[in-house]
């Protein structure tokens, strides 16, 4: 599904302009880095796409759906097609790794046997098979990050949004997660990754979109983290 932002502005009451007049077009199956200094509007952009926020001005369409026109009843079905890895993970601390992944599928009314198989499959893919009966507080940061990724990919969404999926992780773990995201992308899923990770961006070159104070500053096909000469 293509994602189109046309003249999108997001203003938080009373006068914080988080995004200003952004035009952006992402095709189905693309991999996009979203970079920019802190407070530049990356999370806001992702939340507009997952319809947590509505734009103050402008239009966002995903596939042939105008996000303004989605009713409260349709919203859950739209969100099932958009997997999100939240900046703060949002894992449920009382549930095990397995349950954290399974409940997304259960919420869709999928029968227990299939839920079990699919949950185990994605948990194995993110390399947490031996941790599947632990609860998030018992896991390391990188492991929690991977649970969040497993949960977001469990129901095979067409769009995958990851908000700083490698924040605070060491290089090796970051690379593992990066390879995971690339494999999700290789299966045809559109992936948008908001990140500060200069190393990854430069090591795995992909389309790069940079925001600055809520405005689109750069959009390059295989961009580097810093513009030449900036360092």
């Amino acid at each position: 599904m293509d994602i189109r932002l046309a003249g999108v502005t997001k203003i938080f009451e009373p006068d914080i302009v988080a995004l200003e007049d952004v035009y952006l077009s992402i095709d189905k199956g693309e991999f996009v880095y979203l970079v920019g200094t802190t407070g530049s509007g990356k999370t806001t952009l992702l939340r507009l796409i997952s319809r947590e926020y509505l734009p103050s001005r402008g239009q966002i369409t995903v596939g042939d759906v105008n996000l303004r026109k989605i009713s409260r009843g349709q919203l859950p079905f739209y969100r099932r097609d958009v997997g999100v890895v939240f900046q703060d993970y949002k894992l449920l601390p009382n549930l095990t790794v397995f349950e954290n992944v399974a409940f997304v599928l259960e919420a869709m009314g999928i029968p227990p046997r299939i839920v079990k198989n699919r949950s185990n499959e994605v948990i194995d893919q993110v390399g947490l098979w031996r941790r599947r009966f632990l609860k998030p507080p018992q896991l390391s940061g990188g492991e929690q990050q991977r649970v969040a990724i497993a949960r977001a990919m469990a129901n095979s969404p067409s769009i995958f949004l990851a908000d700083e999926p490698t924040g605070n992780l060491d290089l090796r773990t970051s690379e593992e997660i990066m390879r995971l995201l690339l494999s999700i992308n290789a299966a045809g899923t559109t992936v948008i990754v908001a990140t500060h990770d200069q190393y990854l961006v430069d090591a795995y070159r992909q389309r790069l979109v940079e925001l600055h104070n809520g405005r689109l500053k750069r959009d390059e096909r295989r961009g580097r983290y810093f513009i030449d000469g900036e360092l």
Binding site: R72, E106, A107
Partner: protein
């Protein structure tokens, strides 16, 4: 179908997580519904007694000498307030008198001629009907006298009305109290899972999926409370029936099982419906707010 199973599992998790509160709610709902059931049973019995006495209430109309009762009889038959009319001929009246007085009745016929007038015996559906009926009857020129137990009639209908009003008042109060208690318990349960629900909504769970466990919990508490109340009432009522029969035999307490079972079923349904509505209200307020885009 799978969703239903998940919802049931989560319902029991919820009840387990807040078992103290669940028990408290159950007890509160049970007590309030018990009081409700008790007053309702009391009012039901008063009504029953009044209608029993009503059934025995007869208005007697004596015609003037030589007047027959046919015309009034025809009119009364068409009157919707009247449940039964019987014309008593002078001969029948004399028979009755003989049966009652035995030998002394000979005195009545000493004159050789039957001195008794034509008369009517009227039964009405309700006590309230008696006064207007009597008012209508006394204006007939052919009617000599109308006899009925006026004071008793009025008192009975006052008692019956008062007990119905009081039990209706208690009914409203009881429903409001238990609804509030259940609503509040569900709200606490919802807030304890606030983050979980918010995450679920972000991930694409429907409102129904999220609501079901809470709705089941509310129904469980409402229906469970009602069931406890029914059990308590059953025991109390059985004891009351025994006590009344041995000590106050003249009081006519309801022992009809069908009426009682219907009543208890109604109480149970009230509890379950209330639990369902309260929890649906609480959870749907919450999810609607959470789904609103910022």
């Amino acid at each position: 179908m799978a969703s239903f199973r998940y919802a049931l599992r989560d319902t029991f998790r919820l009840l387990g997580r807040h078992w103290g509160l669940s028990i408290l709610t159950l007890i509160t709902a049970a007590s309030v519904l018990y009081i409700l059931g008790f007053t309702a049973l009391f009012a039901l019995n008063v009504r029953h007694m009044v209608s029993r006495i009503e059934g025995g209430l007869v208005v007697q109309v004596y015609m003037k000498k030589g007047e027959r009762a046919d015309e009034i009889h025809a009119r009364l038959e068409a009157n919707p307030m009247v449940s039964a009319v019987r014309v008593i001929s002078p001969e029948e009246a004399l028979e009755r008198l003989r049966a009652k007085l035995g030998n002394q009745a000979k005195a009545v016929t000493l004159l050789g001629k039957n001195p008794l007038p034509w008369s009517l015996e009227i039964q009405v559906h309700k006590v309230e009907h008696i006064t207007p009926l009597v008012r209508d009857l006394v204006v007939f020129p052919s009617v000599e006298e109308v006899l009925y137990s006026g004071k008793l009639v009025e008192r009975l209908s006052t008692i019956s009305r008062a007990s119905s009003a009081i039990s209706a008042g208690i009914l409203i109060l009881a429903v409001v109290i238990s609804a509030l208690v259940i609503f509040n318990t569900i709200r606490i349960a919802i807030y304890s899972r606030k983050e979980e629900i918010e995450v679920m909504l972000l991930i694409g769970a429907t409102k129904t999926y999220i609501s079901l466990p809470f709705v089941f919990q509310g129904m469980f508490l409402g229906a469970g409370g009602a069931l406890l109340a029914v059990g308590g009432l059953w025991a109390t009522y059985a004891a009351a029936v025994n006590a009344v029969r041995s000590a106050l035999a003249f009081i006519d307490i309801i022992v009809n099982h069908r009426i009682l079972v219907q009543f208890f079923f109604l109480l149970f349904a009230t509890g379950a419906t209330m639990g369902w509505m309260c929890s649906w209200l609480a959870v749907s307020r919450f999810t609607s707010r959470a789904l609103r885009p910022k």
